[in-house]
Amino acid sequence: MSQTASATPAHRATTSTGDAIFAAAAKGCGILVLVILSAIIVSLFIGGLPAFRAFGFNFLVNPDWDPVRQIFGAEVPIYGTLVTAVLGIAIAVPLAFGIAFYLTELAPEWFRRPVGTAVELLAAVPSIIYGMWGFFVVVPIMGDYVQPFMIDLFDGVPVLGTLFAGPAFGTGILTSALILAIMILPFIAATMRDVFLTVPAVFKESAYGVGCTTWEVMRSIVLPYTRASVVGGIMLGLGRALGETMAVTFVIGNTNRISTSLFGPGNTIASIVALEFPESPTGSLKLSSLLALGFLLFVISFIVLAISRLLLRTKVKS
């Protein structure tokens, strides 16, 4: 007993020191995360500063990318980034909703886990694999069958005839959007499934009790209850699609031109950075323009991801 008593002061001292060190280390690492994010923004901005200085606001709306004349503009990559991401979302959301609906309401209990796991594994496949698969499998299919068919189908139809116009290379904006859709599908589907599961069973049971069909329960009970989180999940997918690099680089055609046709080639911020970087010497205006593009991409995806987080957070709180 006396031994313990005599040991106590020293023991307490080491205890509080240990606690202080551990708490400081934890807090320090927390702050490090904030520092990393700020450093990413600042370093990209500083790197892009010469380009912003040289071209000013014009950088955003200039469609030229001309290393010979040293004129660089971001219009085409920004356009390509937004169009491929939004089209990708448009393709992925209905599929993701169908999968989430199936997994939460329709599938037999024993079947939900394997199917859910399979869909999640789709998210684990590295993006370079999507690029390679897209280039060697999807591009030929698009070029040989889908694009010629759609060009013939919509020939002469106003608007659609312009959107789906030849030549059918197989690559291009639409193919990129399709690959992006497959890549973000599992993220959106998994988020939707998880939020659909948060709907209290008693709400759904009441609706079934008054004679609603499964679809009516989904449309009138589950969707309104989870609306914010569903949008959050879609924004999460959008954020992923905006910054996707390798898969898009393989299939977009990599041309700095805005095409009126969805079959036309283009580029995105991420794809032009990945492709042009090896030919951009240190300190050149071209490298600075690429870093400026990176800064723009960061700003766009930060806004989208922040909105996504806020929308998903509200559900958790309520």
Binding site: D19, A25, L32, L44, E120, A124, I128, E216, M246, A306
Partner: protein
């Protein structure tokens, strides 16, 4: 009964019933159509997975020889394997994970144990979640700006740091989630025995959450093993054998990128082999992670 008879005798009621019948049939028809579409969507989703895996097996398996693992990459037409790429990927993935995991673990601990409800805690959680989905190419550009350019060029260690930045938020998310599941009674028991807080966290909470934390680390490894974009700006790739961390280092994803985009048949074939190896490696890690997590439940 009498109510039904009464309704039948009034022409308007019969019409209403007829309309109700049509409505009900319409509603159930809609229901069936939507259900069918959802099943179709699921089949389409699974078809993508099967198509990708099938393509990899079909085109990659044929090129899978022992020489892939024993020889380094060579110029087109002269054979060669992927040894340097495989070793480079292993080194960078392991070192990146080793750097990133302790940081992520501490951040997760801070969020779950110390920073709950504080302004700093919420800010860190938010930023970590944004980093989790931030484009990885920007993390590559960032490391290029702060590390590669000032410190004398592309190097294996720069690649490791870029991967570590990607590892951190993944480990943060799982660690925080898992620590929050630990019952308060466990912590109280540790405190009642006179254990200091850090001991109760390290020896009680970490141990109780071990499976979950391990899952996070496995998922992080699986994620960075397939990362290409950040490595293009940091470790660059190396066509010869090199395990010198200060020199450019080869990696599987970058080699696949280079080979798949080349016009040489044997390089493309090796690209498929690399793609097969990395995909099945990553998917296996994912499945193991799931099994580990399930054991806990």
């Amino acid at each position: 009964m009498s109510a039904t008879l009464a309704a039948d005798s009034i022409p308007g009621g019969a019409r209403n019933e007829k309309i109700a019948g049509q409505l009900s049939r319409g509603r159930s028809r809609t229901n069936i159509v939507v259900k069918a579409l959802c099943i179709l969507a699921t089949i389409v989703g699974l078809t993508f997975l099967v198509a990708i895996l099938g393509t990899l097996l079909w085109l990659g398996f044929g090129g899978l020889h022992l020489s892939v693992f024993t020889t380094v990459t060579r110029p087109p037409g002269s054979g060669g394997g992927l040894l340097n790429a495989i070793v480079g990927s292993l080194i960078q993935t392991v070192v990146g994970t080793v750097i990133g995991t302790p940081i992520g673990l501490l951040v997760g601990t801070y969020l779950a144990e110390y920073g709950r409800g504080t302004v700093l805690g919420n800010a860190v959680r938010f930023v970590s979640d944004v980093l989790l989905s931030a484009p990885s190419i920007l993390i590559g550009l960032f490391i290029y700006q702060i590390f590669v350019e000032p410190f004398g060029g592309f190097s294996g260690i720069a690649g490791c740091i870029a991967l570590a930045v990607i590892v951190i938020p993944i480990v943060v998310r799982t660690t925080e989630d898992m620590l929050q599941l630990i019952p308060t009674a466990l912590r109280e028991a540790a405190v009642a025995l006179g254990a200091p807080r850090w001991k109760s966290i390290v020896f009680i909470c970490y141990r109780a959450a071990l499976n979950g934390i391990a899952t996070g680390v496995l998922l992080a490894i699986a994620r960075v093993a397939g990362e290409t974009a950040p490595l293009l700006f940091t470790s660059l790739g190396n066509s010869s054998w090199s395990i010198d961390m200060t020199q450019p280092m080869s990696s599987l994803p970058v080699t696949i990128y280079q080979f798949a985009g080349s016009p040489f048949e044997d390089w493309v074939q090796l690209g498929w082999v690399g793609a097969l190896l990395i995909t099945f490696g990553v998917l296996t890690l994912n499945i193991i992670a799931r099994v580990v997590l399930r054991k806990r439940a």
